[in-house]
Symmetry: C2
Subunit: 209 residues, 2 copies
């Protein structure tokens, strides 16, 4: 596990404990993340989550009032984590390209909780019709955060001449799409298939001058 993804996981857990103070709730959520990400919202039965957490089916309802309720909290956490990861990278020492390099290294790490976020965000936003209204609302609100931190980095990098002078928004969209695609490949195939280096992934960003 890379230093980068460890740092992001630490950040995530910090935020996790702040957003979900109760330990029992956290235990269920940790297990539910795993199940949801494998089966999706509709495909996940409360029994699956309960069994994985070592509880009876009915007991889950002492902590959450519905399946949607659990899902919304996880979805919110995932989006927070996505925003925070870019924010954290943007606050590091170094040039913009170095920061993005660091972030990419974290994302590409085969371990790390951050991978699960991306997967969930992807999976659920794709099947977005089925997700609760509340989750859609949260999504609208928070999906822009990663871009808020990424865009200034790209623009600064362009001014420094280390990032190619294309439209910054297009570059951001391309970056997150690429990362998401690689994340999906990772979760589908495990960590034993060949994977691109950070340098290869960031070719499209680097200035050719």
């Amino acid at each position: 596990m890379s230093i980068q993804s460890e740092a992001l996981d630490r950040k995530f857990i910090e935020n996790f404990e702040k957003m979900i103070p109760d330990k029992g709730n956290r235990q269920i959520i940790m297990n539910a993340i795993e199940v949801f990400s494998r089966k999706g919202l509709a495909g996940t039965k409360i029994k699956d989550i309960a069994e994985k957490a070592g509880f009876s089916q009915g007991f889950v309802y002492n902590y959450f009032k519905s399946k949607d309720d659990i899902f919304i909290k996880i979805f919110d956490l995932a989006l927070e984590g996505a925003g925070n990861s870019v924010k954290y990278a943007s606050e590091l020492e170094g040039t913009p390209y170095q920061k993005i390099y660091w972030l990419t290294e974290a994302y590409l790490s085969p371990e790390g909780i951050s991978m699960h976020h991306w997967r969930l965000i992807m999976l659920q936003a794709t099947t977005s019709e089925g997700i609760p209204e509340e989750a859609k609302r949260i999504s609208k609100e928070k999906i822009k955060k990663p871009f808020e931190y990424m865009l200034p980095m790209i623009i600064e990098g362009q001014n420094l001449g280390e990032i190619v002078k294309e439209d910054p928004l297009t570059l951001s969209i391309t970056y997150f799409s690429f990362i998401q695609g690689l994340g999906i490949t990772r979760v589908q195939n495990g960590k034993d298939i060949p994977f691109p280096s950070v340098d290869m992934v960031l070719s499209f960003l680097r200035s050719k001058a």
Copy 2:
């Protein structure tokens, strides 16, 4: 709609009519593709498909024996389409890089049935636990096709000096991951957001010499 994606769609429809000879079956499948890709396997109700196709819920069972049955046929078609698209590109005139350029143009086109395939493959393979055993078997069998046609193109391109001299398998995996990530972004956001040019996407493939 680009010439490239039109060509792939024509190929797809050809294969579609060969694999599903009955017109009624095809009508249901065309509608089911759309619903499955929006809601996933578990989230799709037979009623949704029936309504979209303009039938009653029960009528669907005159054509297919179960929901899984419909899904398996679509999944198979999607994987066939994925393999055929790369095969088709590899048989075009031109240098390997030109062929991959053509293929990428087809994939990035906002319209075109091919986009739906990718989305479905992605979505369902990601939530793979929930899909029927038969679909998993088909997946194992056909998922390698795109690589079979992509790898020789990359190797030839490397020999010609137009493609960077990195491990061909890594480059292939990176390519399909990238395309998949962009496809997801497309279906999530529609065609009105900025999107990278083919040149930008293929930066990581181009020889720097």
